[in-house]
Structure formats: C-alpha cells, structure tokens
C-alpha cells in the first residue's frame, strides 16, 4: 500500500456564510506531485487556504488526515510545523522584518532548535542562487517593494529553506513571464529532489506543469472534484477547457 501523507474526505468549507467546497475527497501519497486544475471560482484557492487554516474560511464538515493526524484541529503554525507549506498567491508585505530574519525564525520554529548563523547563511545563499535571486534580497524587508515575480521567488525560497513534507503552490505561476516560470520551476525541482516530498500544484494554466513530473491531476469544478486522471488530463484541458466537467445545469 502506498504511503498516505494527506487524506481528505468530504471536506466542506464556507466563506462569509457561503459554502465553497461541497465535499472534497483527495489523497496524496509521499513523494507524489498532484495538480489541481479548475475554472476561476471553483474553490481551488479555498482548498489550499482551508488546508493551511486561514481563519477567513470556516470548515463545516469532513476530515483531513495529514501525516497520521487530524489537521483541522491544529492551529496554523502547528500545521506548518507538522510539515505543511503553502505558497501564497499574493504574499503580504511585512515592514521591518528582513526576509532573512523571517526565514531564520521560521526554520528555527519548524525544527525546534537554533541554527548557527553561518550554516543558515550558507544554505540560504545556495537557495538564492538556485532561484537566481541577488543576495541583497535577504536583507530587504519581507516582500516590501518586491515585484510580483520577486514575491513568488521569495515564496519558493521559503519553501526550499523550510523543506516541508507537503507543499501547496497556489497559482505560483500566475503573472510570471516565461523566464520567471522557468526559474520557479527550477526551485520546485530542487524541492522535489527530496524523494519523499509531496507537492500540490494549484493552477489554471499548464505552462508550469510541462517542467514537472505529474502523478495525478484533479479537476475541481464548483467545489467538487469533477474528474481525476493522469498527466494526460492536462493536455485535454489545455485543448478543450473545463466545459465537459461542469455538470451544473446551464
């Protein structure tokens, strides 16, 4: 039997009293790369946010077992420390905290021990290099004045430094030019070098997927998984769109 890392059953969630997810089932095994595709408003980002524990969303039913424990009972920071990571679509600007200090604080919280500055700097420099980011980014305030592409790279930098067991990438490719998508993909490849790392890529375009070895594709339409399949589904969606999955009456 495959090694289940994430097991979602019947997940329902709403925002501002409106139900967005109507019962989602999804399983991700260790080491797998999953893709969630779907039209705008289908609930893709809601799913990511609910898994991470965004307080703006309310879970109304279902269960999420992550690494053998119920995720929904954990606080946001406990989820992160348990090995879950989500890259934000629009990462927030936090003045007065440098990217470097932020990542170091986060890594120390995640591992529960202090790391030597020298060791930390060394691995940070290596990851900055993978992402073709200038070292000066490390001393800049977290996301403050970063361009859209820089913010996305900073998210992937955090991913690499935190080395979670499951990363959810929420529309990480949106708004990026071809070169930036390539750089970000290189970062994701670096993350996937660790064989047991799992990935959920939320996207509505296939550009970023061509560089990834996809195990499973889930099509999310109107708050439900409407179809599942292998990487071949990506080509079909590229060609035909989501129309055939939409079972709602016109």
């Amino acid at each position: 039997m495959a090694d289940k890392l994430l097991h979602i059953t019947g997940l329902r969630a709403s925002v501002e009293e409106q139900e967005i997810l109507h019962g989602v089932d999804l399983t991700v095994n260790r080491g797998e790369t999953h893709v969630i595709m779907g039209p705008n408003g289908a609930g893709k980002s809601t799913l990511g946010n609910v898994l991470m524990g965004n307080p703006a969303y309310r879970v109304t039913g279902g269960s999420v077992i992550f690494a053998g424990e119920e995720l929904l009972r954990k606080t946001v920071d406990e989820r992160a420390r348990a090995g879950l990571f989500m890259s934000f679509q629009n990462p927030l600007e936090v003045p007065g905290i440098s990217l470097e200090n932020f990542i170091r604080t986060a890594v120390e919280q995640r591992t529960g021990q202090r790391i030597r500055l020298w060791d930390f700097r060394k691995s940070l420099r290596r990851m900055l290099d993978v992402l073709q980011m200038d070292e000066s980014y490390a001393s800049r305030d977290l996301n403050v004045g970063f361009s859209g592409g820089e913010k996305k790279k900073a998210e992937i930098l955090q991913l690499l430094m935190l080395a979670p067991s499951l990363a959810i990438l929420d529309e990480t490719d949106s708004g990026l030019d071809v070169d930036a998508v390539r750089t970000v993909s290189r970062g994701i490849e670096e993350f996937k070098k660790e064989k047991a790392s799992s990935l959920i890529v939320i996207t509505h375009s296939a550009a970023i997927l061509s560089m990834l070895d996809v195990d499973r594709v889930h099509v999310l339409v109107d708050g439900r998984i409407a179809a599942e399949g292998g990487a071949e589904l990506i080509d079909e969606i590229e060609r035909d769109g989501f129309a055939r999955f939409d079972t709602r009456e016109a």
Partner: protein, 469 residues
Amino acid sequence: MAGEKTIVADVDRSFYDFRYEEKDAFRVAEGLTPAIVEQISREKNDPDWMRAFRLRSLEIYNRSVMPDWGPSIEGLDMENIVTYVRPNTRMSAAWEDVPEDIKSTFERLGIPQAERESLAGVGAQYDSELVYHNVREEVAAQGVVYTDLESALRGPYADVIRERFMKLVPPTDHKFAALHGAVWSGGSFVYVPPGVEVEIPLQSYFRLNAPGAGQFEHTLIIVDEGARLHFIEGCSAPKYNVANLHAGCVELYVGKNALLRYSTIENWSKNMYNLNTKRAKVEAGGKVEWVSGSFGSHVSYLYPMSVLAGRGARAEFTGVTFAGAGQNLDTGCKIVHNAPDTSSYVNTRSISKSGGVSTFRSAVVVTERAENSKSAVSCQSLMIDSDSRSDTIPAMDIRTDKADVGHEAKIGRISGDAVFYLMSRGISEEEARALIVSGFAENVSKELPLEYAVEMNNLIRIEMKGAIG
C-alpha cells in the same frame, strides 16, 4: 481556525520588578519645604550659587500651576513624595566595589555586560546618586569628560556648568522644571572638546528603587565645535504601589558643525509619572539626533525639544511609544527653527494595546529668521485592539513664507492576513504579532546599538506576550 485562540494578556512586567530591601543612608522627611531643599543642598555640598538657585526654584515651584492640558496627574501627591534617597554607598570606579544588591540589579539588566561588549563608559544611577562611573581610558585620553554632575560642579568645569545649568530649561519653564531646579540630584556631565569624535557610545542607566522616591537627575552635555558623540540613556524602575515621579532634565549643547545623538529607552514601571524635560540647542551646521523609545510609566509627558539656533542646523527625531493597559503616554517633540537653512525630520511610531492611550504631540515653529528651512513630520500609529486609543496632535507655527513644512499621519491595525501569513511558516500567533509590532517599531530599533535594539525588541515581546518564560 481550529485550536485555541491566543490571549494577548495584560502586561506582566515582573522581569523588571525585582527589588531589594531599602538601606538608605539618609532620607529626608516627606513633602517639600525650604528647609528640606537647604538640607539637600548642604548634604550635596553645593556651591553657594547652587543653593540659591535651588531655593529660587522652590519659590517658582510653589507659585506655578500644575499642567492641565495633558493626561491626568491627579494621582501624584507631592506631599508624599520623598524627594531624595541616597543608596548606602559612595561612588565607585570599579564594578567589584558596588554593593551586591545594587550590583545584581544592574547585572539583571545587563549593564556591565553591555559595557564590556561595546560601550565606552557607564554611569549607573541607583536612586539619586551615581554608584558606578567609569569611562574607558582611551575616551578620557581624548580629553572627553564624563562624570557625575555634582563633582563636576566643584571641578575644572564649574564655570562652564554655571553658565549653562538650566539655561535651556529654566525653572520658570513649567512646574516640574522648577521642582527639578529645587531638588535635582545626580546625573551626568559630558564635555567633548572641539573636533573630537567619540567613536563608541557613552551610556548611563537610571533606575529607581525606593518606593515613593522621585528621581530628578540632571544631564548636561556639551559637544564642542566639530565634535561627535552618541550618548545613551536607559531607564527602568521596579513596581511599587506608591506613585513614583520622575522629573529629570536633559540639556544638550551642540556646537558648530558638531553631531550629538541622544538615545533613550525608557521602561519605567507602571506607577511612574514621567515628567521629563529634554532640550537641545544646535549651533550653525550642527545636528542633534534624538532616538527615543517610551515603554513604561503610568503617565508620560515627554517632548524633547530642539532649538535650531545657527544657520544650517539640523534636528532628527525618531521615536516609538508603546502604551499598554493603564498607561497614558503623551509623547512627541518640539522643533524651533530660528535660523536660515535649518531642517528637521521627525519620524515616530506609536502603539497602543489593552486600553492604553498613546498621544503624539508635536510642535514645529519656524520663525521669521528661519528662511529656507525645511521640516517633515511623519507619525504612524498601530492599535492592537479596539479598546486602545491613539491620538495625533500636530501643531505648527510658521512665520515665514520661505519654508517647506510637511506633516503626515497614519493610523492602522495589525492585519489578520499578515498574522496568518507568518503563522503559515510555523511561527506562533504571539510571535507573529510580536514580529509585526517589532517591525513597526523598526524605525527606532535600527538606530540603536545592537544590545539596546535587542532589549527594545524584548520589551515589545514582553508587552505583546503578556508573560515571559
């Protein structure tokens, strides 16, 4: 969100609330009379002019009215304030000679360590007398004088002090300036000769220990032409039920083309009335830089003033004020442009939490003589919860058309999205909030030497977490 919500509890200042049994060598009767003032003067072996000055100040004190325009100071009963408490020791130049209980107080606050790390000299005032005073040899070798004010009054700089003592802040300024003039005790005198650059900061640390004791230290700093100095003042006091009063006075003389940075982290206990008066006079081409962090006290009135007296003189004020439960902190600054081509830059942050009130009050005066002067004032406020209050009261008095004066104010709250974002990286809610608030106050912390920036961030953490491990 699943899980328990963190309670951002009331401030627990217990870390700073350690204290020791009082062993006063000498203590005056409560209340204030000419006899008491004379007794203080005798005990201090004042020169005659100083005794006369004290008595004159007492008269002014007795006929001046209490301020009625700021936070209430009704809890203050001068009849019950013991104005003078001297610890049971003589001034000492070696740390080892300082009595054990006093020493451990300072050691808990990290003072000797800080000195060993990077500071040029430490003057630590325990209640009213300096108990420890030391200037590193190389600083003294540059001709820099750093001593307690009382012995300086009888030393080679006696005349210099007489010319300047309470000339920037005269006893007629307000009731508590008059009180200060009458009962001042302890404090520092610094003189930096022309052209001398003091590379490492000088620091002093004030601490009140006796219940009901007022602290009236006087700091007089002269940075002569072309010289440079960074002076750091740190303050804290343990907590008592009796109201404590702090009415210190700081007078800074910044010479032509000289630079003085004056940094303060005040962390008085929450029953303290902090009515401190600070003023700088800056000559042509000189610059004063104030860096100010106000965390403690029950009520503060604190508005360091810079008088730009010579052409091209400059002032910068960078401040942060954190008002928690039961605190009403009225802070800000005052700038007087009284010469052409002068400039001032004010950048402050205020934080209020758990019903705390924080008011930013500023005054910018540009006189007719101050053509081509520039002033920019920016203040930002952060309210941690809906019980707290934040006010901004900027005043401007511009008497020339040829001046460029700007003011900017912003008020905000901690964004829930930002807290979620930081937590999603494994940082606890408390820590996330503390990080955001520390980041907000970074304008000040980045201007402080590392040990002080760390202490300030720890204070923010204590305030935000409500308890420390």
